[in-house]
Symmetry: C2
Subunit: 472 residues, 2 copies
């Protein structure tokens, strides 16, 4: 068999197709071949062609008996036919001149030797024709800015995030879908999502290489259970992290987890130490849970890397300032006492009971202006490499205008290379205002001091890598 193509080659077709055929398109609601056609019809701005030898029309679109008869323009097929038929479909896709195939069908390597043989034939056909295959046994591709929803996500049951700066690549389809559902509710925007499934052809390295050059992607989040081609993965990471931050959740870190991963995707029970070393050597920011994967990816997409260890905590609540300081310290960051000059400047603009040492506690009697002034003085001082902001929205002096009032100083901080993240503890009103802070000023907001501190840690870790490799 011909070798796997160089990482990234031909992957763009999955995110920027000119026309998409759905092979195995179905008239029956609930079937995968129906749902994916429904999703493409609703989302995709180019032509969508159902392929089904037993139908003349599906969902109001004319159907074609085979891929060979689909008219132009078409360069991508999404396949939802039974596994034994898939190799022939890939062959037809090649003969028709398509550049990519997404195989949603299951029943390949994950079910045993017969499925593995089918998977080999599938790859052979793809290599013969020089086209790329995503999957099989995957949940598809989602790229909101280009209108690609080539997934079988059930409408109404699955949240779909809007366009944004984070790319998300998941070996597991169900986990990917659940995380996208969460991302939509959380207000995280996605540039590209791809579920890799069995990785018969397209793998993590392909996506990394493609996303490295994708102008819409500012950070890359990766969920991995196991990698088949270590050197290829390492190579892609080495080329990507100097350009864009990569956050990886490697599941199967423990013995029990590795055994579970082997059952789930057939991933080899590789030692996590090998991965940990690889991540350290290549500047990957490691995550330990799905929420942390996104917490870090969002911070790295929205804020600059943190060029030093010194964090100023600016808070409306003293208790939260204490908890945040504990977390920052436990992550190896510093919360140094501010200089007498800076403290004097703070005392001039804050209430008499405010604390100025660091944390800067403006107190629950503070107004929007006090908080803005505190940020301003801290930023001016040059004594903080990063800022952890803790606004409380339930005290009398902090109003619904806070996001507007803080936006200028927060934007300036970002321009000056001083990252700011915020922690908000509270209910629906607090979260609404927190999201506005994120939208207006690009400050990522986390529920709780621990996660905000961890985000700064990620920004610091990535900066250390860039410093080491001369990128900063």
């Amino acid at each position: 068999m011909r070798p796997r193509p160089p990482a990234g080659s031909g992957v763009d077709v999955f995110f920027h197709p000119r026309g998409v055929a759905v092979v195995g398109a179905s008239r029956h609601p609930g079937k995968v071949g129906h749902t994916v056609l429904l999703n493409l019809k609703r989302w995709f701005r180019g032509p969508v062609y159902p392929v089904n030898p037993h139908a003349r029309e599906i969902l109001g679109l004319p159907a074609y008996p085979s891929l060979l008869e689909v008219p132009d323009p078409v360069d991508l097929a999404v396949v939802a036919v039974p596994a034994p038929l898939v190799p022939r479909v890939v062959d037809e896709a090649g003969r028709r001149g398509l550049r990519g195939v997404i195989v949603l069908s299951a029943g390949f390597r994950e079910v045993g030797p017969r499925g593995a043989a089918l998977e080999e034939r599938l790859v052979e056909a793809a290599r013969r024709h020089g086209l790329r295959v995503l999957g099989p046994n995957c949940i598809g591709v989602y790229s909101p800015s280009t209108g690609v929803n080539a997934t079988f996500f059930v409408p109404g049951r699955q949240g779909l995030p809007g366009p944004g700066p984070v790319a998300f690549v998941s070996q597991s389809g169900a986990l990917g879908a659940a995380v996208l559902d969460w991302a939509e509710a959380r207000g995280v925007g996605i540039s590209r999502f791809a579920s890799l499934g069995n990785k018969a052809d397209v793998d993590e390295a392909d996506l990394l290489s493609y996303l490295r050059g994708d102008p819409e992607t500012r950070s890359i989040a990766l969920y991995v259970e196991g990698v088949d081609d270590g050197p290829r993965f390492r190579g892609a990471l080495e080329e990507t992290t100097p350009v864009k931050p990569v956050v990886v959740l490697k599941a199967g870190r423990s013995g029990a987890g590795a055994r579970a991963a082997a059952s789930h995707t057939g991933s080899l029970a590789q030692s996590y130490e090998l991965y940990a070393a690889l991540f350290k050597q290549t500047g990957v920011v490691p995550a330990s849970s799905t929420e942390e994967l996104f917490d870090l990816a969002v911070a790295l997409a929205l804020q600059p890397p943190m060029r030093g260890d010194r964090v100023a905590v600016v808070t409306v609540g003293g208790g939260s300032g204490v908890v945040a300081s504990d977390w920052l310290s436990s992550l190896g960051l510093e919360v140094p006492e501010l200089s007498p000059e800076t403290q004097a400047r703070l005392r001039r603009v804050l209430l008499p009971l405010a604390s100025t040492r660091n944390p800067v506690d403006v107190t629950g009697s503070a107004t929007d202006e006090h908080l803005a002034e505190a940020l301003h003085v801290v930023l001016e001082s040059g004594e903080a490499d990063g800022i952890l902001l803790i606004p409380y929205f339930n005290v009398p002096g902090i109003t619904g205008e806070l996001p507007e009032k803080l936006a200028p100083v927060l934007r300036r901080a970002r321009e000056e290379g001083v990252p700011v993240v915020a922690s908000v503890t509270g209910g629906a009103r607090a979260w609404g205002l927190a999201r506005r802070l994120e939208e207006l000023a690009g400050v990522p907001v986390y529920p709780g001091e621990a996660r905000a501190a961890r985000a700064l840690w990620g920004l610091r870790l990535y900066a250390r890598w860039l410093e080491k490799t001369g990128g900063l």
Copy 2:
């Protein structure tokens, strides 16, 4: 001065007053003395008496010139007058025969020696009359089942959780308020909330002793920056943990955090090691963040302690099963392979592609019934001391009826002493269904595998303590 009363004595008046006077009640919206009166008027079912020498009526309630003239029944006063006037008010409360005073006013020990002298006079008056004082410099008391909202929470800005099994005691007022706001949005029910402020009289030990005997409280969550009387605190913990679980977030664990705590509440910079040792010796479940404080308190309120280390993971998504296994292992719990007999039983009721080893992965093609059957077989096997359930609500076969369908087996697990917690990753629809699972079956639901695993860890830690002390 007379000594501090025994822990817990007379504390019930804060949660079950017969009538409440508001000293410093104000006609001016936005003033603390206005907001607290508004809150009591709306919530409290007994009589509420504004005290203000310059008003005849406030918010439609007849006002009294001093506490001495307030009619019966009254046993509690909430005080919002300037600090220098407070000692006299406490004296009047004693002369009038009141049993408790909540001092919201600030300007005591936290502002320096003059405030400290005022605070001493306040305590002297309280001891002389044998009444208990909460605060000063606190945010008050909230007890939804008895209609006590003696706080200056701004209505519309502050979420107020409904009644429930978790008691929450916070040294910090603002942090307490923010956490209650979050609890309301999260659907966590609260039995009692008290903000301790300067702890001039009533302290953590008082609340622990009271809550130990409170039938509405099933677990106690405590936010502490520093404790003044170590032996008294230890004594209260020793008597409480054999009866009810206590979760403590001790802030100021790091050097930076301890310095912040000293600025915030004047707490001594005590070494965290001392606290860690105390918690270990007294069976306290330690938390490291505000969200973890509640994650653990909710688990301990709703589920039985976990009598062994063996956890079965029952999941709709393989990837989440891997992540959960990693977390459980890293917390010292086991995810053992199930016996051949149990796996055979599972294979009989699950889909062919399901994994049965543990995690039990019913797969994204499973139905509600498959998940119920898997739980049933795992519970029957006796091979799991606890269960981590991961339902996905975005796959085709899992319906909105899942909570109803799982409730019987989940309730049985609890009755048999096998705790179950769930992890849900997803958006609004998923969370709505997750909450129904919590309501119907008492299964606490967490956003993400890491936090669910940590909750089981808390249930195991508490069980180990009970085993050691003969309570289990």
